[in-house]
């Protein structure tokens, strides 16, 4: 496959953004990415816009963003893969370069969720599985999906709610060091444990928030990348997989099969044999605390049932065996659904270029970063490996 690199990255502040509409919010990251790459809109051959929408005003965000950001009349499309939408937008941009149809492509991730009341969001995200059998009939919610997994995982591996809380404590700590994060404050185990149940056994502070935000990356073929920058960040591999829409079609509830398959494919493409030894920093999909624990195992950082020990030993903090979510993760940085995957790529780029604030900059020894972006509850999975070489 043609080598493809990220040559520019930008991100907006995440949070409740009553100061910016969808297009203005996208512009914050698009303009930052163009600035970072040192190029102009006319240089872009194709752009994808990852956006789930419905809770926000525009039905055709790819064209409204394009008009606002001066990208019209370049070819575009809107991309959807639930919470993995951002990674899917990157795949489309990468494939357009790999196919030879573009030399420079942009992937924009955008979500504006605060445009409607919270119960409407709960309603819409709850439908993110099989609408008729699991939502219409029974009212399963998105936290409910992951809570089902948490119940089975905790029963099988004798984990407890305090173990889940440790993930929230870590990610809020790193959120407190990230000026772009939605929650820039630390939380204690007690605060997590006394927060209200959203879907038992998951509590409010086990959950990522509703978020507005955008992120953008500019991808280039090898020749263009080397012309534009001395520090291209190469896409070394990207594994994609899907899972059943109905959770009742899953055989167990302790692991996301789609994550396992996507990771295996990505590692194979990038020639990674031992992830913990060869990856410097990871951002994983911690939409709920249980999701981060399952990710440790699904990505092969530890064996089955060993994730709890990894977080108890603080081995996923900076300086640990494998630092995870040093940007605060979805949990504290925020989870603007369509922007999350692109935001992860922006974080991988900053970490690999050693441009993160010192307090949360990982030690870059191998020059390899991983992003793990799940859509729904393992309905989609995208695992991407980024590298300096």
């Amino acid at each position: 496959m043609t080598k493809v690199a990220i040559v520019g990255a930008g991100i907006s502040r995440f949070g409740r953004r009553t100061d910016a509409n969808m297009n203005a919010l996208a512009w914050e990251s698009v303009s930052a990415a163009l600035e970072d790459a040192g190029i102009e809109q006319k240089d872009i051959d194709f752009y994808s816009v990852g956006n789930v929408g419905v809770w926000s005003e525009e039905s055709l965000p790819a064209v409204t963003v394009g008009e606002y950001a001066g990208l019209t009349p370049k070819g575009t499309m809107r991309v959807e893969a639930a919470c993995a939408t951002g990674s899917a937008a990157i795949k489309v941009a990468r494939d357009s370069i790999a196919s030879g149809s573009a030399k420079l492509a942009m992937a924009v991730g955008l979500e504006k969720m605060y445009g409607v009341p919270t119960p409407t969001i709960v309603e819409l995200i709850g439908r993110a599985g099989n609408y008729f059998w699991e939502f219409e009939n029974f009212g399963l919610t998105f936290p409910g999906y992951y809570a089902l997994y948490a119940s089975a995982y905790m029963a099988k591996y004798e984990a407890n709610e305090e173990d889940l809380a440790l993930v929230a404590v870590k990610n809020h700590y790193y959120g407190s060091l990230n000026p772009f994060a939605q929650f820039q404050k630390q939380v204690s185990i007690d605060e997590v444990m006394t927060s209200k149940y959203v879907a038992h056994p998951l509590k409010l502070l086990d959950s990522s928030p509703i978020t507005d935000g955008s992120a953008a990356v500019i991808l280039a073929d090898e020749e263009t990348a080397r012309r534009l920058t001395d520090t291209p960040v190469w896409i070394k591999g990207q594994g994609v997989a899907s899972g059943s829409a109905n959770l009742s079609k899953r055989s167990d509830f302790v692991s996301l099969d789609a994550s396992v398959m996507a990771a295996k494919a990505a590692y194979s493409q990038a020639g990674i044999k031992n992830p913990v030894e060869e990856i410097d920093v990871a951002t994983v999909h911690d939409c709920f605390t249980i999701a981060e624990l399952m990710a440790y195992e699904d990505l092969g950082f530890v064996g089955r049932g060993k994730a709890v020990q990894l977080i108890r030993d603080e081995q996923t903090y900076k300086g640990g065996k494998i630092p995870v979510n040093l940007d605060g993760g979805l949990k504290a940085k925020g989870h603007p659904i369509g922007a999350t995957g692109v935001g992860m790529a922006v974080e991988a780029v900053k970490q690999l270029r050693r441009e993160a604030p010192k307090s949360r900059q990982a030690d870059i020894r191998h020059g390899v970063a991983l992003t793990h972006n799940v859509g729904g509850t393992g309905h989609y999975a995208y695992v991407t490996l980024y590298g300096l070489n």
């Binding site: 009553t18 399963l140 919610t141 409910g144 089902l148 099988k156 056994p201």
Partner: protein, 164 residues
């Protein structure tokens, strides 16, 4: 459709000006069920039916009218249960808009001896969350709108929870 004289309001927290949309969209879908109609016939008779491919004998629940393996639409209908083992469970506390009027409810995935699984409400005394591994019985009840709905209830033998 109503028109607001001044559609611009200040956000209570940030003070930012927000244009309050004067248009409102309501959605209610019409979902074809022709290929799984026997399921609804069964439900009215108090039975929960899965579809079964007449060629490869694969069992489908939720039921579907075609078998993707055989690429044929020739299905038998077989009754599930009555018992199923609880694989995963949650109590939904923050509810969607369209379930806002209901008490907190318990949902779980039960696995039938035939190997298929179903997600349904759990109706156990005192809104208790049963343990993973509990044997349950599938039953048909009525929802608030008097439509038949399948649920999991305790087995007739009483408590079948695994020992702690």
């Amino acid at each position: 459709m109503n028109s607001t004289p001044n559609a611009i309001k200040r956000d209570e927290k940030t003070g930012d000006p927000l244009f309050i949309d004067r248009r409102e969209l309501r959605l209610r879908y019409e979902i074809p069920v022709k290929d799984i109609y026997p399921f609804f016939d069964g439900l009215r008779e108090g039975r929960v039916l899965a579809s079964k491919c007449k060629i490869c004998l694969a069992l489908y629940f939720p039921p579907q009218g075609s078998c993707p393996t055989c690429r044929k639409s020739d299905m038998d209908w077989v009754e599930l249960g009555p018992t199923a083992k609880l694989l995963a469970v949650t109590k939904v506390c923050i509810k969607p808009q369209s379930f806002a009027e209901e008490e907190d409810y318990i949902l779980g995935v039960g696995e039938f001896p035939e190997g298929v699984r179903a997600l349904a409400r759990l109706l156990f005394e005192g809104s208790r969350i049963p343990k993973i591994g509990t044997q349950m019985r599938i039953a048909v009840t009525k929802d608030s709108g008097e439509n038949p709905l399948y649920v999991f209830v305790p087995t007739e033998a009483g408590s079948n929870e695994p020992a702690p």
